[in-house]
Amino acid sequence: MEQLQLKSSRFRAEREDDWRRLEKLLAKVGKGSARALSDEELLAMPVLYRQALSSLSVARATSLDQSLVDYLESLSTRAYFFVYGTRSSLVERLSGFFAREWPAAAKALWRETLFSFALTLIGVAAAYYLTMHDTEWFHAFVPESLAGGRGPAATTEAMRATLYDKGGDHSGLSVFAAFLFTHNSGVAIFAFALGFAFCLPTAMLMTYNGAMLGAFLAAFTMRGLGFEAGGWLAIHGVTEISAVILAGAAGLRIGWTLAFPGDQSRPAAMAQAGRQSATLMAGVVVMLFCAGILEGVGRQVIQNDFARYGIALATLILWPAYLYLPRRRKAGS
């Protein structure tokens, strides 16, 4: 009986226990995280993985038991994804993101950022110029729902009232901030995704965003409220508009790479560009969170123009300094 046994059956009988042990460890990891394993098990994992791989090679070459080869393939694949997967903790990842990855991505996309900034500026200038000459243009740039009673037709007093919070009632500010954050983040991610269509929709969105801003400013400047409106806008606007410009830059990068991949193959170039822009986009969401709080809470609580300008100036210095100032390289990295 023994000599009748197939070689492949004997091969399997000898290693089966190791495979089952690896399978058990993987099931444990699948339920929780890598922390579910003891130190001993964690050390055993790579060894068991390599054994499974070598078993797979041997089985492919010598065994005709199809189910065994399939089993080993699936086992090795699962172990591969664990052994070569990411295992850094959330804290490590987050600190890496804020310390290195986000500023690095912002620096890498400086050309797109400049372009996106220029588009916004063109939008602002064009809409400002047009609205100053003919107030009817205001309605072409700003939808009625957003204007909220402001506009060339409103009285100066009514315009001034929209800039300042009258009562001391600050209830509902957190709702307002949360709404602003979720809404703006949605729009920013949308602007980024639109970049895939060869940059055009994103570029249009950037220009239009600038145009709305320009029309608003023009409507207030006409009434001699330019300075006050500036403070009202800049306290959160510096952060928010920078975030939108960065989102546009990220969108432009993927659209541009899709059209002109450069030296690499198109999929490889896209993957690289996509990851870099995604890192920047994660940063944009963080910026919009800050902007939401500044706009939803800060602007309602702070009613003084100079305090508003002070905060705006601080954000205007802090963001670029954080993102663009050269920093020391860590030794070895």
Binding site: L4, Q5, L6, K7, S8, S9, R12, W19, R20, E23, V29, G30, S33, A34, L53, S54, T62, L64, D65, Q66, S67, Y71, E73, S74, S76, T77, R78, Y80, F81, F82, Y84, G85, T86, S171, G172, S174, V175, A177, A178, T182, G186, I189, F190, F192, A193, L194, F196, A197, P267, A268, M270, A271, Q272, A273, G274, R275, A278, T279, M281, A282
Partner: protein, 304 residues
């Protein structure tokens, strides 16, 4: 009539795994580990991906509805006092569900949302390296134009923008929605941008070795060399499949066919199952010993 059926049934059995391997070859991608072993990854097909997405959407919508009901109850329970907090929490939860549901689940070690897990799928980096957080963020940010934009075109009030604009928008979005069907690797736009793909990560159980468990008493079946040379590896695998499923009808048909082919005389009280198990073990032994000498006989037409 009987002959006809007998002829037909085994051919379908033989044909289906043949098709399967051709199908697998189209979906199979090589992933060579640093140890130098090719893992033969299989891509998830469009149907599985769609099913996984539908499951995830159902979960998102379900959780959102349940959560909204809870917040409504809380709102009425608090008699409108804590409205601020409740509204803020609701908006943040909505945001997380809509934009971060996929990201959070794909960041787990399984790299799969509940829907993908249910379909045996996972996300992997196309270059075989680590699946990084930025790649996951990129592939899911693209859902904005692939999924939410077409949905909003469907939901939007047609009287406002006009049916033709709505239709044009839907067509434009359809390009993104159906993008996976028009490339070899079944990449979404998000996969293209992030350098990822969706592969199968099935959990297979180690099933018993047929050559050991179902072996009938030795000596009862003795096959000659010529009888064992009637078939190759492909037929062996079909036979394995038949034996594992063990449907009485198919077993009888296949046994009859093999007996006819190798000229086997049926002994009294010989069961079809025993005969097939014995023939499987003997054939595998023969083919494996030739394999050790470097000869892999592909199928019965292979004359090597």
């Amino acid at each position: 009539m009987k002959l006809k059926r007998a002829k037909k049934a085994p051919t379908t059995v033989v044909a289906s795994p043949g098709d399967l391997s051709a199908h697998d070859a189209r979906r199979s991608r090589s992933l060579v580990t640093p140890e130098g072993v090719d893992l033969h990854l299989r891509l998830g097909d469009a149907g599985e991906r769609a099913a996984a997405l539908l499951i995830d959407l159902a979960i998102i919508v379900g959780v959102l509805i349940a959560f909204s009901l809870v917040t409504l109850l809380a709102f009425f329970g608090a008699k409108g006092k804590g409205g601020d907090v409740i509204a803020t929490v609701w908006m943040l939860v909505f945001f997380v569900l809509r934009n971060l549901y996929f990201v959070i689940f794909e960041l787990t070690p399984g790299a799969a949302t509940p829907g993908k897990r249910a379909m045996g799928l996972r996300v992997a980096a196309r270059n075989g390296g680590r699946l990084t957080a930025d790649a996951i963020f990129a592939r899911n940010a693209m859902r904005e134009i692939e999924l939410y934009l077409p949905l909003s075109f469907l939901i939007v009030n047609n009287s406002q923008v006009g049916a033709w604009i709505s239709l044009a928008g839907l067509l434009w979005c359809g390009v993104f929605l159906l993008f996976p069907l028009f490339n070899r690797d079944r990449l979404r736009v998000g996969d293209l941008v992030a350098g990822t793909w969706v592969v199968k990560a099935p959990r297979r159980k180690l099933v018993p070795d047929l050559a050991r468990t179902s072996r009938p008493s030795p000596g009862r079946f003795a096959f000659t060399q010529a009888q064992l040379d009637a078939y190759g590896v492909k037929e062996l695998h079909v036979l394995e499949d038949v034996l594992r499923r063990y449907e009485t009808k198919t077993i009888a048909l296949v046994a009859a066919r093999i007996r006819l082919k190798i000229g086997w005389k049926v002994a009294p009280e010989e069961s079809d199952g025993d005969f097939l198990a014995a023939y499987y073990a003997a054939l595998r032994g023969r083919l494996e010993s030739r394999l050790l000498l470097g000869k892999r006989r592909k199928d019965k037409h292979d004359q090597s």
